[in-house]
Amino acid sequence: MAEIVLEGITKRFPDGALAVRGVDLTVGDGEFVILVGPSGCGKSTTLNMIAGLEDITEGSLRIGGQVVNDKAPKDRDIAMVFQSYALYPHMSVRDNMGFALRLAKVDKATIRSKVEDAARILDLTEHLDRKPANLSGGQRQRVAMGRAIVRNPKAFLMDEPLSNLDAKLRVQMRTQISRLQHRLGTTTVYVTHDQTEAMTLGDRVVVMRGGVVQQVGTPQHLYDNPRNLFVAGFIGSPAMNFLHATVEENALRTMLGEIPLEAELRQTLERRDAPRELIVGLRPEYFEDASLVEPGRRGLTFTATVDVVESLGSDVYAYFREEGWQPAASSDLAELAELAADAGAQETSADQDQIVTRLSAATRIREGSRAEMWVDTAKIQVFDPHSGANLTHPENHRA
């Protein structure tokens, strides 16, 4: 158990590609930190550098107060769970889990008891003498976890450990990993590209893009106060809607209508010298069926044609797309383009040219009909279209 400190960690590959740029991060003792970002954002490279599987080009890495930049993986006392599980196919589950102890020359009786303890925790006892090839995906995943916990290392490093499981199993394993981590209290760094995993698992989440840390914070903090367009679009499912907006006299004009400019927001925009053209971010749950909103509640009401309705029982997702509408064009900004590409890769519903709303289940909205919608304008986030910075973010103000 130990603290992991990254100071200005940079990775430059021999071909000159800069994979990770100046990452500063302190993972507290016993903390569960998630590195999240689209593929190619440098999160796995960062993890491999902590493990010692990749050399660190610049910066210093300390595990438990000791600089380990030049130490081999075996001398760092860390355990890693791989996306592919990387189980040794020629060894039984027992030997797989005991391999590290065997290399450390622990006596046989101790190995046996430690492996059996771990197997009990992970519900693998009856599979101990089987080979990995004869196990199901979930069981293999648990063996990979078992191999890590048997050693009682300073830290766990997990590289997308759940991405090869089917959806249901993934949710189960997610809670199991969370429980296990709390029980063992081992410092954990967990890499994923799935923002749901990031939100549900971690004490803190690190959002990365292009090798640079975008924002670090608790899941709720990132959700409520994204620092820039990228974090705003990446965290949350369905993703935040982005609309073009023009600053008018007393309002922000968007394709949904005019959003009245509150005095506070107005001052903020002036103080930050905001451009006239802005991007407004609205989370799907800010929307509601206008007929369900108590009259007089402040907000913007607009009419649009419902494209698709997805009922989840507890909520209803309604998608809007209108002729002539142009929500923030994805080509405008590299960040949005990257988000769109990532969303496409993950096959999520986030589509850049439609508006996703999350309505209460009581709504009577029908597909293809015109519907009157209401949106809570008190919670809007306003972004600078050039820098992507969140102009409404409290920390950005001080900067």
Binding site: G52, K74, A79, L157
Partner: protein
Amino acid sequence: MASAGAKHVTGWLTINIVVVAYALFPVWWIVALSFKDPSTLTDGNFYPTKWTWQNYRGIFDTSEFTRALINSIGIALIATAVAVVLGTMAAYAVARLRFPGKRLLIGMSLLIAMFPPISLVSPLFNIERFLGIFDTWPGLIIPYMTFSLPLAIYTLSAFFREIPWDLEKAAKVDGATPAQAFRLVIAPLAAPGVFTTAILVFIFCWNDFLFAISLTSTTRARTVPAAIAFFTGSSQFQQPTGSIAAAAVVITIPIIVFVLLFQRRIVAGLTSGAVKG
């Protein structure tokens, strides 16, 4: 529809039978020949009319053939073992490491494999006489190794590339030194590749005639393919056809045994279960 399908099947069956017959006919011919009595040797029958073991008894009568057999087995086994051990190490480096001159190394080994052996026989003959290894076991083992190493490196590096990188990383994180990772994780997984390579190299050494005939002069190191060429009939007017046929059958047997023995080890999918299936 059904008749078209049946036609299809019949067509393939015919082709298969023709191909198999074409491949196996010479084998049958030599086997039949080896069992024929000298008097019926040239009768042109596909089937021996008078069965006899005399040809087999004949070749084992003198020490000439048995000595050659021992030479063949010894030389081929040693050359195979050395080539596989060296090839494994080289192939691992080729598959896994980035080092300067890697392309050159691969290019060179390919070059050696493509060199016509006949062009090297005369220089080798002189070199070996100079070094005093002419007509000795090492005199054959060394050229065999040289020519089979490229083959070994090529097949083995293909196998190493198939082994997931993650396994080695996992071993390193688990506390293994690079040598331990290789010995305990990578090598056992590469076993099917090693056996496949061993068979190929063994067959190459076993079948070679050119080096065997050029680099030996006595029965000290002469292998079977060369020894067969020195077979004589019982009188100078008699062709040793029966003995040659019998010897040819005998030297085929170790190859068959070798392949059958290791075939089981060449199980595809030994690595299944390592990573997500």
